[in-house]
């Protein structure tokens, strides 16, 4: 196990190196200049040149790269041009809202998925199974932004049950935080639950055709026990992968939800950084997201062996 983790850490360093290096040169090759964005259209060429120099954006690119790489190795990801703060501090300030959304919505979706699929597996011919079959398609087809606008219109503007937008850190004021989280989390849960459910149903269908079930039935094991003890744990493995990857993609990918519900998360921060050509911040956020992807993948792989001890992580 220790070897596996060490190997993965080696891979993580490699991934971050490739992502960081590619991004560094990519950002500097696209049109757009942070100095121009800061100083506006009326800045003189001299003023722009001076600011570029102050920001470390002049000189050969390889020199800039080596400087950046040297700093990153020592844990210094630079200073955000827009926020005037260390990149890691900006990420730290904005990761909590995104993590709150991602963790809450993923956890609720996962539990709902297990409950729904379990019910459908135990009683495959009842109305729940049939309803789930259709509802998942519907849930997948609903565009998130549309659903978000709809729930705001119905539950916030008309019924007044929840605020239209806003974010309060949960531990700072749970009473204010929970109502603000209900609508954005609900929107995410609908799409995610549909996605997880379809994935898990596929797994269940695959397991149901396995010969070992025939043996189990021949030994007199009940259908309920077959479903709960044998089918569902095995069908869970692909769901874990899906949940893991989906969670990682939520970290940088809930821009629409963050925008509509005015949640100051990492997605909108990254988007703003791109518009402002805040190179250090873009690089830092993207590398952080890459780190999360690798870390979550490792976590999922390790969880595999817990769910099914026969699985060995390579």
């Amino acid at each position: 196990m220790v070897l596996v983790i060490l190997r993965r850490l080696r891979d993580l360093v490699l991934v971050l190196f490739v992502v960081g290096t590619t991004l560094f040169f990519l950002l500097r090759s696209i049109p757009g200049d942070p100095a121009q964005v800061l100083l506006g259209t009326k800045a003189s060429p001299e003023q722009l040149d001076r600011l570029r120099a102050d920001l470390g954006l002049t000189g050969p690119k390889y020199e800039q790269y080596l400087n950046w790489l040297g700093n990153v190795v020592t844990g210094d990801f630079g200073t955000s041009i827009h926020y005037q703060q260390p990149v890691l501090q900006v990420i730290g300030d904005h990761i909590a809202p995104t993590l709150t959304l991602a963790v809450t919505s993923t956890a609720i979706s996962f539990v709902l998925t297990v409950l729904i699929v379990s019910w459908a597996a135990v009683s495959p011919h009842n109305w729940v199974a049939r309803f789930v079959n259709r509802a998942t398609q519907f849930g997948l087809a609903l565009p998130e932004f549309w659903l978000a606008l709809l729930v705001v219109y119905v539950f916030a503007l008309n019924l007044g049950w929840f605020p239209t937008s806003g974010y309060t850190p949960f531990f700072a004021d749970p009473v204010a935080a929970v109502p603000q989280l209900v609508l954005p989390v609900a929107v995410l849960v609908i799409g995610q639950t549909a996605f997880f459910t379809i994935t898990m149903e596929e797994g269940v269908l695959g397991e149901l055709s396995q010969p070992y079930l025939r043996t189990a039935r021949a030994k007199g094991v009940t259908e309920r026990r077959i479903a709960i003890r044998h089918v569902l744990p095995n069908a869970m493995l692909p769901v874990l992968t899906t949940v893991g990857l989906n969670f990682a993609s939520l970290i940088g990918g809930v821009v629409v939800i963050e925008s509509i519900f005015v949640i100051p998360g990492l997605g909108t921060t990254l988007l703003g950084a791109v518009y402002a050509r805040d190179f250090p911040l873009i690089q830092g956020v993207v590398m952080f997201i890459a780190f999360l992807f690798v870390a979550v993948n490792l976590l999922v792989d390790l969880t595999y062996s817990l769910v099914n001890p026969k699985v060995r992580v390579a």
Binding site: I30, L38, L39, T41, S259, G272, I282
Partner: protein, 547 residues
């Protein structure tokens, strides 16, 4: 009132901004917000007045104001984000600033004098003024601030070659000496970058400006807290010493009724409207799309600003463009139906004809109709002949570029494209985020013909606006423009200044650095609990919350 605001971060005075963020998001998700800011270059003159209907002022309470993006810093010199000037003018003061009629008025200066030859300005500082931390204001602070502004501020660019020195004669007197006459007071008054900081804070400034832990000014409010990406809270500055005279625009004595002003950072336009309706914030600048909806809501009030942004298309004078030829520029002017483009915006209350002027009708000092007759020309058939005479080949495509951060620009280009198509001329439209657009304009100066943008309808001096200065790198005859701008700077009487403005307007009309399309007004919506708000842009130092 928004000043020193780059186009990428300006709140657009137009109806389509409602969809700005979703469009951005779609574009960004396909590729990867800005502002802001992105935000209007619109100086504002209040049409609304506080006529006493709000009852007597009440001290206390919090006003929540929505802004489009976290400004990053409050250094108005090195950060031209609109949010900076929104907030910084509550925190900082200038030697002189503009009143609601755009006239310069002393604030930190008790008085100022211009030498007979126009080469020296002497400012006498108001006595007893302190910064919010209790440090007395001294001439050294003013000297450091003005030098910092001239050296680094993009809007002070026209002053830099003219400036000889800024010196402190004593603790209360500052002299600015010039190499030639220049309209210093107008530029200083209208530029947020000329705000006065402590000399020690200027000395601590880094590449992107004065650090945020050194936001110390002499204004009616000071920064209480700043939660990145969420909100900035100001609180009353108990050390504030107001200037004399009633509050007017940014000038006059501010009474600071509010305990706090909270600026909520909200980019999404739908969220802005929803928050206004449900009371999450008290004041916002919604999009033009939402104007009718807000107007019909009895719970919300609207103040339409009298001033406006100038929406324009710049013509590329560089040799690689057909518009390097004067006949082609005249042909384009003859072709474009400016009033049709204005009508297409769909909100008549918020638009008005530009008449070809680089300043709004309400700006009596700078408005000139010297180019009106040419601006009103519109004859597609004649335009077709003029394009042919200019040498436009049948297979030649007119390349139009703009930014998708302000959809009204692309709307205008689509109308122009249709008008070009009707006379058999091919054209293309490419739309980018602001940074990419500027990159293309600067790095590939011959790769475009027409560029749609907007600029401040109340420039402090004529040279300040793209509609006088042009946008291209080399082809525009600035050498011939320079003496006209200098004549304006040398003007000793309003009549001389007006004559100079007419000459400048005549020059731009003849050379067409841009073709102005229309003026777009901004508006502010607020909840009925807001008292004393006169509609002067986003200035709230004299506002109170009604009980």
């Amino acid at each position: 009132m928004i000043r020193d605001t780059p186009l990428n971060q300006q709140l657009p005075s137009r109806r389509h901004r409602k969809r700005q963020l979703p469009r951005r998001i779609l574009a960004a998700t396909a590729a990867v917000l800005v502002a802001a800011g992105l935000a209007s270059a619109c100086n504002s003159q209040a049409t609304g007045t506080n006529d006493g209907a709000d009852g007597p002022p009440v001290k206390g309470g919090n006003l929540t104001v929505r802004i489009a993006q976290d400004p990053g810093s409050l250094d108005a010199v090195k950060n031209t984000n609109a949010g900076v000037s929104y907030i910084s003018h509550e925190v900082f003061e200038q030697l002189v600033t503009i009143d609601k009629n755009y006239q310069p008025q002393p604030v930190l200066a008790e008085s100022y004098q211009k030498s007979d030859d126009g080469l020296a300005f002497t400012f006498t500082l108001r006595q007893g003024v302190t910064f919010s931390d209790g440090t007395p204001l001294k001439a050294a602070d003013v000297v450091a601030s003005l030098k910092y502004w001239v050296e680094n501020g993009s809007y002070a660019g026209s002053l830099k070659p003219v400036l000889k020195d800024v010196t402190a004669k004593d603790d209360a007197t500052v002299e600015v000496s010039l190499k030639r006459p220049f309209n210093l007071i107008a530029l200083m008054a209208a530029s947020a970058g000329s705000e006065i900081h402590k000399a020690a804070d200027i000395a601590a400034s880094g590449p992107t400006g004065i650090p945020n832990d050194r936001i110390v000014g002499t204004g009616p409010y000071k920064v209480k807290s700043w939660t990145r990406g969420q909100q900035i809270v100001l609180e009353r500055n108990t050390n504030y010493k107001p200037p004399k005279g009633p509050s007017s625009g940014y000038a006059g004595a501010k009474r600071a009724f509010l305990d706090t002003i909270t600026y909520k950072i909200v980019a999404d336009e739908d969220a802005v409207l929803n928050g206004l309706k449900t009371g999450l914030w008290d004041v916002a600048e919604p999009s033009h799309d939402q104007y009718d909806q807000i107007k019909s809501d009895a719970q919300l009030k609207i103040k339409v600003e009298a001033a406006a942004n100038v929406q324009y298309v710049a013509l590329n004078h560089n040799s690689g463009s057909i518009f390097s030829k004067p006949q082609a520029r005249d042909a384009m002017n003859m072709l474009i139906d400016k009033k049709a483009i204005m009508a297409a915006q769909g909100v008549p209350e918020l638009t008005q004809p530009s008449n070809g002027a680089f300043a709004t009708l309400t700006n009596k000092n700078l408005y000139s109709d010297a180019g009106k007759a040419k601006w009103e020309q519109n004859d597609p058939e004649q335009a077709k002949q003029m394009f042919a005479a200019a040498g436009l080949r049948p297979d030649q495509t007119i390349r139009m570029i703009t930014t998708d951060e302000f959809p009204q620009f692309k709307d205008a280009l689509l109308v122009i494209q249709n008008q070009l198509k009707k006379i058999g001329i091919k054209s293309s439209i490419e739309s980018y985020d602001f940074a990419t657009l500027m990159g293309r304009k600067n790095n590939k100066p011959n790769s475009w013909d027409v560029l749609a943008l907007m600029d401040d309808g109340n420039p402090p001096v004529p040279s300040y606006t793209d509609n006088v200065n042009g946008l291209d790198n080399s082809g525009y005859p600035r050498d011939k423009l320079a003496p006209l701008l200098e004549a304006y700077d040398r003007a000793k009487t309003p009549e001389e200044a007006k004559k100079a403005v007419d000459a400048i307007q005549g020059f731009t009309s003849q050379n067409l650095p841009t073709i102005t399309l229309y003026m777009a007004k901004n508006y502010v919506a607020h909840r009925p609990n807001v008292g004393g708000y006169d509609g002067w842009g986003m200035e709230f130092a004299d506002v109170w919350i009604k009980k």
